[in-house]
Symmetry: C3
C-alpha cells in the first residue's frame, strides 16, 4: 500500500482511546438508524509529527515515520479539548495552525505569536471547542461544529506557503451531539493544481459500496481558485452538507467555488438514486480538469463490480483484485486511493511512486 495515501482515521472516542485507531462498525446503508455523534466534554491527548517525506514533500502523522498527505483526520465532538504534543522532526521550523477551533494565541502556530517550533523541537498545542448556547447579553453563540482544517503557518514564509505546498495540511471535523456519522470519510485537497499533492492525471480515486454513507472533507490551498464538482451526487450548502429537514432553505449543489483556506464537508449515500458506477469528481475549471484535476468516486454493486468501468481501459490504473477491500474498514478508509502502477501523459513509465507526487507544480499561465 502506498504509505503516503494511507491516512489513519482516528475517531477520538475518549481520552483512553486517544492514540488508538478506531474500528468503525460498518453500518452500511439501509434499514438501520443512522449512527449519531455523542456529546463531547472530554480532554484528549494526541501526538502529531511533522516529517520530511522525501522528494521535497512534508506531512503530518500521528506516529513517527507515519506522516501522510493529507495529514490524518482529527475528529472530535463539541465540548472536547485536545492537547496535541507536536514534534517537528524536520530541519526547518514548522508549526500547527487550525481553523475554526478555540485556542489561545500561544497555540496560533504563527511566528508572530512565538508559537512555531524549531527543528527538532516540541510544543503542546491546545485546541478547545464549545457547544452552542445563549450569551449573557441574549445573543446566540454558535458552536464549534464544522468541517475545519489544520496546516503549517511558518515553512517558507510567515504564512506557511512552503509548508502547505509541500503537504503540511489535514482535516479536522468537530461534530455536534446528534450529528449523523458516516461509514467512511475521505479528504480531497485542491492544493494549487494538485489533488492531495498528486499532480497531472494521478488524482486519487475513492471507493464505496452502494448504500454506504460516505463523507467528504474538501479543503483548498495554494494560490488558485477552483470549482469542486461531483457527478451523480450532491449536497446542501450549510453546516453539515445535509438538510436539517423540510424547512431548511439551503441550496442543494453539486458544484462549489472554493479558494485557498476553505474547507467544507458533506455526506452522500453512495449511488443513491443513481446506482453503482465510476462517478467523476473534478475541478470544473476546464483548464484545470484537462490538466488532470479529476478523479473517480467508484461505487460498487453488492457483488463488488463497478458497471461500465473497465480498469484496464481507463487512464488510471488500480488494483482490481480487491485492493478496495482496504477501503471497507474504517481505519483504512480516510484519504485512501488506489495504488498506481503507471503514471500518465506527463509522466513516463518507471517513475518510482514519488515521481507522480508533487506539490510544487505551478500553473504557468
Amino acid at each position: 500500500m502506498d504509505r503516503r495515501s494511507f491516512n489513519r482515521r482516528m475517531l477520538l472516542g475518549g481520552a483512553a482511546a486517544a492514540t488508538t485507531l478506531s474500528l468503525t462498525p460498518e453500518a452500511v446503508g439501509t434499514g438501520r438508524r443512522a449512527r449519531t455523534a455523542p456529546g463531547g466534554g472530554k480532554v484528549k491527548h494526541i501526538k502529531l509529527y511533522a516529517e520530511h517525506l522525501g522528494h521535497g514533500q512534508m506531512g503530518y502523522g500521528f506516529k513517527k515515520g507515519g506522516a501522510t498527505i493529507p495529514g490524518p483526520l482529527i475528529e472530535i465532538n463539541e465540548g472536547d479539548t485536545l492537547h496535541i504534543e507536536f514534534e517537528n522532526t524536520m530541519d526547518v521550523a514548522a508549526s500547527l495552525h487550525v481553523h475554526g477551533l478555540d485556542y489561545e494565541i500561544t497555540s496560533d502556530g504563527t511566528r508572530g505569536s512565538g508559537s512555531d517550533v524549531k527543528p527538532g523541537g516540541r510544543r503542546t498545542y491546545i485546541w478547545r471547542t464549545h457547544t452552542p448556547g445563549r450569551r449573557k447579553d441574549g445573543s446566540w453563540r454558535e458552536g464549534s461544529a464544522g468541517y475545519w482544517h489544520y496546516h503549517d503557518h511558518v515553512v517558507g514564509t510567515e504564512h506557511g506557503t512552503g509548508g502547505i505546498r509541500k503537504g503540511l495540511y489535514g482535516p479536522v471535523i468537530v461534530r455536534r451531539k446528534g450529528d449523523i456519522l458516516p461509514d467512511k470519510t475521505h479528504t480531497i485537497v485542491f492544493n494549487n493544481m494538485t489533488i492531495n499533492n498528486y499532480k497531472g492525471h494521478n488524482a486519487p480515486d475513492f471507493w464505496a459500496m452502494v448504500g454506504e454513507r460516505v463523507e467528504f472533507v474538501m479543503i483548498t490551498h495554494g494560490d488558485h481558485f477552483h470549482t469542486f464538482h461531483m457527478h451523480g451526487h450532491r449536497w446542501a450548502e450549510n453546516r453539515t452538507g445535509l438538510l436539517a429537514g423540510p424547512d431548511d432553505p439551503s441550496r442543494i449543489i453539486d458544484n462549489k467555488v472554493v479558494g485557498p483556506g476553505d474547507a467544507f464537508g458533506f455526506q452522500v449515500i453512495a449511488g443513491e438514486e443513481v446506482g453503482a458506477g465510476a462517478w467523476m469528481y473534478h475541478c470544473h475549471v476546464q483548464k484545470h480538469a484537462d490538466r488532470g484535476m479529476a478523479g473517480l468516486f467508484l461505487v460498487k454493486k453488492p457483488d463488488g463490480t463497478v458497471p461500465h468501468h473497465n480498469a484496464h481501459a481507463h487512464s488510471r490504473n488500480y488494483q482490481s483484485d480487491g485492493s478496495d477491500e482496504s477501503h471497507s474498514h474504517g481505519h483504512h478508509s480516510h484519504g485512501h486511493h488506489s495504488h498506481r502502477h503507471h503514471s500518465h501523459r506527463h509522466h513516463s513509465h518507471g517513475h518510482d511512486e514519488y515521481g507522480e507526487f508533487d506539490g510544487v507544480y505551478d500553473l504557468d499561465d
Copy 2:
C-alpha cells in the same frame, strides 16, 4: 429575429405535451396570487439535437435546425422522469451531461462511461428527479429541485472543454410542488469572457414590464471566475433565490462570486421599489466589465417606454418598435435579446450576425 437567440422555452406540462411549446399565460404582477408549480411524477419524452451553428459555434435544440446558444430551457417538476432522445448531427462525438438530476452511469455523458454519441449517432439519456423525504435511516433526503444545467462532456477534451466553449450548454429547472412560477425566464451564461457566447460589447439585453415576475438562471462556464451583479434588484442566497418567509436567515445579495460549472437562479419583480429603467447587469470584475461583460435589464413602464434610456444614444442597438413584444410570450421569452443592427467598438459595421458571436474569445492576460 436572430435565430440563435430565439430559445424556445418548453414548459413540460405533461407527457402528451412533451414536444410542444407552452403558451404561458401572462400572469403579470399585482393583485393575482402567484402561480405555483404542480407536483411531478410524470414520464416525459423530448428530442434534443446537437448541431453546428456555423462560425465555429455549436448548440443544442429541440428541433433539427433549431439549435440555440444557450440551449433551450428544460423545466420539469420533482418526481418527473425525462427521456431525451439525443441526436448528434455533427461530425464530432458529443454528449449530454446534466448537473443535479438523477441518472444512471449510462446517462452520464462521459467518454469513460461510454455514454457519448458518435457523429450522426443517437442515444436516449434518462434523467430522473425525486421529491424530498425521510430515509429509512431517519435522515432527511433532499429533493431534486434547483437551478441546474446541462452541457457537453466530450468535444475537444474528455471534459467537453471545446463543446462548452462553442456553445453546447443550457439551463434546467426542477421545480418543487408549490414553488412560485415566474412570468418569464431568462438565461445568462458567463462563458469565459462572453455572455451567452457574445463577446465584446454585445451582451444580450432582457426586457420586462414593471411588475412582471422575471426569473434568471445564471450559469458559468470556462476557465474564469466572475461576479454576477444586477442593478436595482437582488435575491436570496438559497435554493429558490426567494426567502421562504420571515424566518429564512439567508443572505440577500446583488453580487455573487461564480465559477465554472456553477448555476443558480432567482426571481425578481421587475422594477419593484425602483421603477422602470435600463438596469445594468454585469460582471463586477472591473477588467471584465470594461471588456464588455455587461448588458441591460430593460424594465418598461406600462406605456412601453424605458425612462432615461435612449436607444439611439446607447451603445447597444435594438429594435425599439416593438421587438420586445416577442418577449411577452412565454415561448419566446427565454434567452431572447434584441436584434442588433450594428456592432460596436471592437466590431466594424457590416458584420453578418455571426460576426459578433464568438465563443472562442480568450482572456489574453
Copy 3:
C-alpha cells in the same frame, strides 16, 4: 492622526442628527443585554463629497476636506430614506452608485442613466429601504437589511474602474429592527492587491478590548479574487453573520471566497473563548498574503496589553502609547488603524504618509 484613515462613523439616529457624529455608548461585553436597532421610517439628509486626496488617490467624505479611504460608514434602518447631497469637488466626472438599496434609475450613478456628476457639480441621490413583508401575490418580499456598499461608477471607465482603484468606495449597513448593534464597526476592503488601498506590508490593524462586540464590514473591489480569513474568530454565512438561533442551519466559517463587488459583514465578541492576542486577518491566497495582504486584530486585555505581542519586534509600527485610545470611541472606531512611522520592505524610510498608500498597485503575474 492620519487624516485618511480617520473615518467618521455616522449613526444616523434621526433626521435632526443626520450630519452629526454619534457618540456610541461603550456597552462593552458581559452582563448587559445587547443593544438592538430601532425601527426605521425616517427621512434623513446628508452631504457627501468626492475629493482628490493627493498622490492619485480619491475619497468620499461627509465634510469638505474630510474624505477618507474607505469612505465613511453610512448606517440606516430598514424603512429609512436617505437624501444625499453629493458634491464632486474633483476635476473629473464622478458618481455614487449603491448596492442593495432601492433607488430610481435617476440615482443609479451610471453614465448611461445620466446620473453622473460633472466636475464641480452637485446631484441629490435618493436611497430608500423597505422592511420585509408579504406581497399581494402571497410571496414573501425580503427587506433591505444587509451589509452593502457604495462606489463610483464613472471615473476611468463606464464601470468606475479608475474611481474604485483610487479609493472611491465605502460601506453601507441597513439594519432591521431588533438587529444586534455592535460596540464598534471596522471596514476592510480588499481592493486589487491592497487593503483599504494600503499596499505591501502596510495593511491596517484594528483594536478592541476583550469582550467588545466588534463588527467587520468586508468589501472586495478590483480585478482579483481573494479569501478573507481571520484567526481565532468566526462567523455565520447568513444575513447578519450571527446565527439567528439553534435552528439556523448556516455554515460557520472563518475563511470566505470574495470577489469584486462583494460585501458581507459579521460581528465577533473580541477574544471570546480565545482571549487577548494579536490575531491575524489576511487573504488566504498564499501569494497575496506573502505580498502583504495581512493585518492584525489586536485584542487587548483589560489592562490594555496584548499578550505575546511586541510592537517593536513586529514588522508593523504603531503608536504603543495610547494611540489605540482613539479606537475606543464609537465615532473614531470605523476604519481606523494605527499611524505608521515607517514603511517596510517595499518602501524606504522617509516617505511621507501618502507614500505607503497606493491604489494603483497591480498584480503583475
